[in-house]
């Protein structure tokens, strides 16, 4: 599927809320989430052919948003380390879910990219192993392995904390 600029503008209006909602949950910062919203669609404007091989527009938006947000989380962590300052804690949504999201963000910045992506799809979006495998383009077995690595990383962090 290839889109012209007008079609991308319509897609932004009809599907942009999906990007914004997930970016807010992942980043915990409204300005960063707004930037993610713009950048995901800017990437599509720069390379509209990237949708050609996507089986699902919604799935493509999930992939792009996750990729952008995880990069930002990692860059923020790297920047904070370089400046030797503590990362600004992102405001979490109220309640247990907010705490879990803050915890998930902290964990994501320490995980390899593929494992972090699988963790987002599983914990934030509630995807099955089959759905995650579809978006990552790998086997369900690989997804199980990645999520196991996530749990192992978490266990190590718990021990070192």
């Amino acid at each position: 599927m290839t889109l012209d600029a007008a079609a991308i503008e319509r897609l932004y209006r009809s599907h942009g809320h999906i990007v914004l909602r997930r970016a807010r949950a992942l980043l915990g910062s409204e300005p960063d989430a707004q930037e993610a919203l713009q950048e995901v669609f800017a990437a599509l404007l720069r390379a509209p052919h990237s949708l050609r091989s996507a089986a699902s527009v919604v799935g493509w938006l999930y992939q792009s948003t996750t990729h952008f947000c995880l990069n930002l989380i990692r860059n923020q962590r790297t920047g904070a380390r370089l400046l030797q300052v503590a990362p600004t804690p992102a405001p979490a949504a109220a309640g247990c879910r907010g705490e879990a999201l803050a915890e998930l963000r902290s964990l994501l910045s320490r995980l390899p990219a593929e494992a972090a992506t699988a963790a987002v799809y599983h914990h934030l979006d509630g995807m099955t192993h089959e759905e995650i495998a579809g978006l990552l383009g790998c086997s369900r077995r690989k997804v199980g392995y990645l999520l196991e690595r996530v749990q192992q990383s978490l266990a190590r962090l718990e021990q070192s904390a």
Binding site: A42, S106, T128
Partner: protein, 231 residues
Amino acid sequence: MIPSLAGRTWNACFSALQLDRFVTAEMTEGEAERLRVHLTGCARCRTALDELRAGSEERLPPLRVVPLSPRSRVRIRAAAAAVGIAAAASLLVMVRPFGVRTKGSFALAMYVDHAGEVRRAAPGEVVAPGDAVRFAVSAPADGYVAVLSLDPKGRAFVYFPAGGRAERVQAGSDLPLPLGTRLDETVGEERIVGLFCPSAVELEPLRLQLEQGGPAVPGDCQVTRWSFVKR
């Protein structure tokens, strides 16, 4: 201590991906019917779906049609700083003005990104198809801004904002508008109309009037007119 991330933060039976596909009508009829049947007996999924639907009604900000690269943004800021406010005023001279009416200090500046090099448009600017342009405004007070254009074929467009009404900006000098555009292949002289209004005027009537030889600008708006040549 880091608490255990034991389960999912998403607690519906169907994933967010599937519910989003349902909301955006991307599911096949079979998939959608299966979900509809499930929803009749599952309060958690109904709640999750209601939340997604509520979120889908949020009004989004305008899409930056041509977001400049981080490198370009730095150059724009550097260019604006180097030029300075006094010099900037001289660069805001309108190019081939026609029927100009200005009051106060509302002004419109234009930046052009040609092959990754950003420059500030000067009087008589010649640009090329495919160049990205982005406008900056100097506003004497908080107000509402819009930028319209009339291309060489007589077609009018709204460059800024993406919505149907002029968009609010704060008072300030050389503030980049968050929406750019990439110039199409139509060569010739393109006319630009910048509006600064005390209210969020509707733009579609003005766009139509511009195509018909207007526009009849609302009396309480300030207007700045430009043109540039594309070849």
